[in-house]
């Protein structure tokens, strides 16, 4: 029960805190949230943009959640997104292939690239017991700088942006774009939902998934039961990285159709931590949480114009939601205390 209750209460508390902040800065919170709602669902364009934003969030959320189920905190999703993005664009722009095959190959290579980026911390954790959090943080920066340098030096001749991917590799959905007044919506959301199903299936219906969850809940017991803990750790990180790589491919083949030099992170990976946490690390929870955060992020863009509220309010709200979910112990404690007194 608390798996559902804690996230719900946290979201409500987060939004209430956002309302309080709006009031204390002289804004009308009702107008503020109405502007957000309109900005996310107000017309077909906004709806299309919301779906576009939700798509990579589902995948980066799955990435964090999958590792978490195996007892690993993958902060490196951000870096895995970046390498996946770059790999997808590389395949998409530098090779010629028949239509459907090209997309599939580009997606696969993106997943492999992300998986490789997850393999390194997985291997170090499994073989040398190095904590995955620090290694993945470091891998994020290596990914960022390496990708920038590859874009400048290898994929282009000193340019800050690659060419667009070939139409055969693009996830673009012209008819969907047309009915959403040319939002940047693309077919990626199908990939994201497929992957959510895949994660549920692997974790709950396969032996491998059972082993991964066992290692996550008690590595020592799993070891005694004859499972290879180290191998499961590596597999978990590789699959997690694969999801993250696909999240990057959504941006590279769908939203932007190119890769560019960036001075900072995409934040898709970091937001994925929030998504997974709120979704209680389950596939369905991740999809729902991704929808919520995607809505908040896209809706927020409408807040300055319609209600005068700075967009950044939403970042505060999301941070608070994470804090509240993480502090679930207190929500549980308060709840149990009240339910005991009621008896």
């Amino acid at each position: 029960m608390f798996n559902i209750l804690v996230p719900l209460i946290s979201v409500v508390l987060g939004l209430l805190a956002g309302a309080l902040i709006m009031i204390s800065f002289g804004y009308n919170p009702v107008a503020g949230y109405a502007a957000m709602w309109n900005g996310a669902f107000g017309d077909a364009y906004f709806l299309g943009e919301t779906v576009r934003q939700v798509t990579p969030y589902v995948l980066s959320g799955l990435a964090v959640a999958f590792a978490m189920r195996a007892g690993l905190l993958n902060i490196g999703v951000e870096g895995q997104v970046i390498v996946g993005w770059l790999a997808a664009v590389w395949i998409g722009s530098s090779f010629g292939m028949p239509p459907v095959l090209h997309v599939i190959v580009a997606l696969l290579v993106a997943a492999i690239a992300g998986g490789l980026w997850g393999f390194v911390p997985g291997l170090l954790k499994a073989k040398l017991g190095v904590h995955e959090v620090i290694v993945t943080i470091m891998m994020n920066y290596i990914a960022l700088y390496l990708s920038n340098s590859l874009i400048r030096g290898v994929l282009t001749d000193g340019s800050d942006r690659t060419e667009n991917v070939a139409s055969t590799a693009s996830l673009a959905a012209p008819w969907l774009r047309e009915i959403t007044f040319f939002s940047r919506i693309h077919y990626g959301f199908i990939v994201a939902l497929l992957m959510a199903f895949t994660m549920w299936f692997v974790l709950n219906k396969t032996t491998r998934g059972f082993e991964l969850r066992a290692v996550g809940s008690n590595p020592f017991a799993s070891e005694y039961a004859g499972m290879k803990v180290g191998r499961n750790i590596i597999i978990a990180m590789v699959i997690s990285g694969g999801f993250a790589g696909l999240a990057g491919a959504m941006e590279g083949l769908g939203t932007f159709q190119y890769a560019s030099v960036s001075s900072g992170f995409t934040n898709i990976g970091f937001d994925g931590i929030a998504v997974a946490l709120l979704g209680a690390n389950t596939a369905i929870g991740v999809v729902l949480a991704a929808i919520l955060f995607g809505t908040l992020k896209i809706g927020a863009l409408n807040m300055p114009t319609q209600a005068g509220v700075p967009t950044e309010l939403v970042d505060i709200v999301i941070a608070l939601i994470i804090l509240f979910v993480a502090s679930g112990y207190v929500i549980r404690w308060v709840f149990l205390k009240f339910s005991k007194e009621g008896k």
């Binding site: 902040i21 800065f25 905190l73 902060i75 390194v120 170090l124 040398l128 190095v130 904590h131 959090v133 620090i134 290694v135 943080i137 470091m138 891998m139 994020n140 920066y141 290596i142 700088y145 390496l146 920038n148 340098s149 030096g153 001075s263 900072g264 970091f270 931590i273 929030a274 946490l277 700075p310 950044e312 309010l313 939403v314 970042d315 505060i316 999301i318 941070a319 608070l320 994470i322 804090l323 993480a326 502090s327 679930g328 112990y329 207190v330």
Partner: protein
Amino acid sequence: MGFLDALAIMVSSALVFAAPLIFTAIGGVFSERSGIINIGLEGLMVMGAFVGIVFNLTFADMFGAMTPWISMLAAMVLSAIFALVHAVASISFRADQVVSGVAINFLALGIGLFLTREFYDRGQTDIISQPFFTRDIPILSDIPVLGRMFFETYPSTYLAIAVALIGWFVLFKTTFGLRLRAVGEHPMAADTNGIKVYRMRYIAVMISGALGGLGGATYALTVAQSFSQATIVGQGFMSLAAVIFGKWHPLGALGAAIFFGFAQAISVNGASWPLFANIPQVFLLILPYVLTILALAGFIGRAEAPKSLGEPYIKGSR
């Protein structure tokens, strides 16, 4: 440009980049030595940079040349208070310390940018009028080469090095430091000996907030001179790397921070220095991170974390 000139400029600019990392890394050492992981260093630096710049812009007329110093003080105090969020969540509410730290990073940037828009109506503040200026130390700065390397720099750099030395003294030569370390190694044993575990951890996290704030403010008041989304991008994580590369020891962290400062200085200005012109920039950019991973993997001496790092202490449980 002769070799010695280049070297002098390189060392002095490395020290400029190192100073914020030193402050923040020493803060990280305090927090982690008490058993609290602090991924939130980045956010604490953001808060420090934001407060430092806003205070400086607001009070420049009132305090004149003293403004940067008082801005540093304000950043230190407010960041220490802000760090309480991390302390409450991870110490009292038993939140996952890494997740709480991630939230701190989001929160600091959210608050900083929200208030920047509130106060200045756009995403970036003005350039401050009272930054730190480099100062020549009389006599010492006249020493050939060495003078330009070490004695024509920002006063904040000396403060950072002093803080590292004080941090070492406090952690390893005082009762307070012994207790703080005991709490991070074996909180139950410490508790049995009458050390207040929660209080020590709160103090440690607030020290990391204060020093992270100083670090952020130092970067803002020397290098960036304004606040925006792009002011603090990764310096906090680099400080965290310095904590680990320095093996959770203040002097190790000091050394690591200076070394990373070098890497940063080289990656920014390297192209114009004869020695480094031929090394692709990307190697210099990723060097600190690669080295940290190697250090963790045990290739550069094994880095051992405090025993109870990351575990919430629950009174009465074994």
